[in-house]
Amino acid sequence: MSRTLPLKHGRGLRPLSIATLVAIPIALVLVFFYAPIEAEEGFLQKIFYLHVPLAIVTLCGFVIGGLLAIVHLRTRDRQWDLRSYVAIHMSLIFGVGTLITGSIWARGSWGHWWVWSEPTLVSFLIVILLYATYQPLRFAIEDPERQARYASVFAIVAGAFVPMNFLAVRLSTAYLHPRVLGSSSNLPPKMAFTFLVSLVAISLLFATLCSYELTAKRTRMLLKARSRTLGFR
């Protein structure tokens, strides 16, 4: 009798976790000690190194969730639906983080907790409102097979919506202020480097957390299946 369950699903977990645990402190050090303090906004500007990577990773997460859903519908393999679910779920959390950090930054820069003139923030609000219906949608369908299928359809439509929405909101926002919040071009090299490292760190964090959630869910499912074959309820 084997001592442990073969760790088929958690194999990538350790290197990912280590990479994340290494990347985050490095990023933090860079943010606080290496990157120069921005002339106009001062210290608060450093939240940019958290907010923008969160935003980028969230958006990619939603789009990836949609792509995984396409694979699910084509292959009918529920593993892909599980991956899609985890990606979207995690992106939703990171998205809320984006909104919160964006709000803090807006408050610090312009004195308001919310600004309509920043298209990224506004687009995020809409996208979060949309994806907030993902879980209620899933739980409102009892049949697991149909639930997975409908969730995938939603993930695909919503994934296509993300870029479309950004376009529309961008067009509609009157640029009364220059877009300081979102622009990551024309950064001096020190800031650019810090930004890149932060982006890598946040991406690793996302990947690791997704991996954890996937492993946890799969293990739970395996456990349930085994206990059923052994006759436990």
Partner: protein, 227 residues
């Protein structure tokens, strides 16, 4: 005509149909017995292509499901618990709608309305008709496109004896040897069911507990299923 090999259909964790295998030839009648929830309706719905099998082989009319389901549609007639008709529309409007979906002409609609004796009530909304009449309209719907395979879920429910006689030529075993009518019937009536069966399948909790030629099955065995 129908080949099932290890058919499985799940509903969540539970198996609604568990390893069902059988072989039905053209022109034969399979009668399925079993208590409620045994999987009879699920089986019929899979054969009609409404549900996909989760594993196992399913071949209907020579085509394998679910991949070739599109080739089977239009050649199968399903008569389930629901009449599948719109209550606000009349019998004639409903049947014409189905006729259009199946590429069948309007004369056929009139033919069937006459066959189920609904011609004089054909222009009243279905919600004003009695249950028996609606069932007759449903029979007309199911046989409108002259299907080769009939799937009948307790077809004679809601029908009085006169109505049953009326629909018999439509859902009974075919009389034309050139066009054999294959049927799968789910039934709660041991005597009647056995009488018209060539093959008998007994289901309990999705598991096929009885499969045999009708001649070799006794009413007692069928009663056992419901115990």
């Amino acid at each position: 005509m129908i080949e099932l090999e290890g058919l499985v259909r799940r509903y969540g964790e539970r198996e609604a149909l568990s390893d069902v295998s059988l072989s039905l030839h053209a022109g034969q009648t399979l009668v399925v017995f079993g208590p409620n929830g045994a999987g009879k309706t699920t089986l019929l719905r899979i054969l009609s292509t409404l549900l996909r099998p989760h594993s196992g082989g399913v071949t209907v009319l020579g085509y394998s499901l679910p991949d070739e389901a599109w080739a089977v549609r239009g050649r199968v007639g399903l008569l389930g618990h629901e009449p599948l008709l719109y209550r606000e529309l009349t019998a004639r409007e409903n049947l014409r709608f189905h006729a259009r979906l199946h590429g069948v002409g309007e004369e056929r609609v009139e033919e069937l309305l006459a066959a189920v004796a609904l011609t004089d009530r054909a222009d009243e909304p279905l919600k004003t008709l009695s249950r028996g009449m609606v069932q007759r309209a449903a029979v007309a719907r199911a046989t409108l496109h002259d299907p080769e395979l009939l799937l009948l879920d307790e077809p004679r429910a809601n029908l009085d004896p006169a109505a049953r006689e009326l629909v018999e030529p439509l859902i009974g075993p075919g009389t034309d040897p050139a066009r054999p009518r294959t049927r799968v019937i789910s039934s709660h009536d041991p005597a009647g069911g056995l009488a018209e069966a060539d093959l008998v399948l007994g289901l309990r909790g999705g598991v096929p507990v009885l499969l045999s030629e009708a001649a070799d099955v006794s009413r007692a065995q069928i009663a056992e299923l419901y115990r």
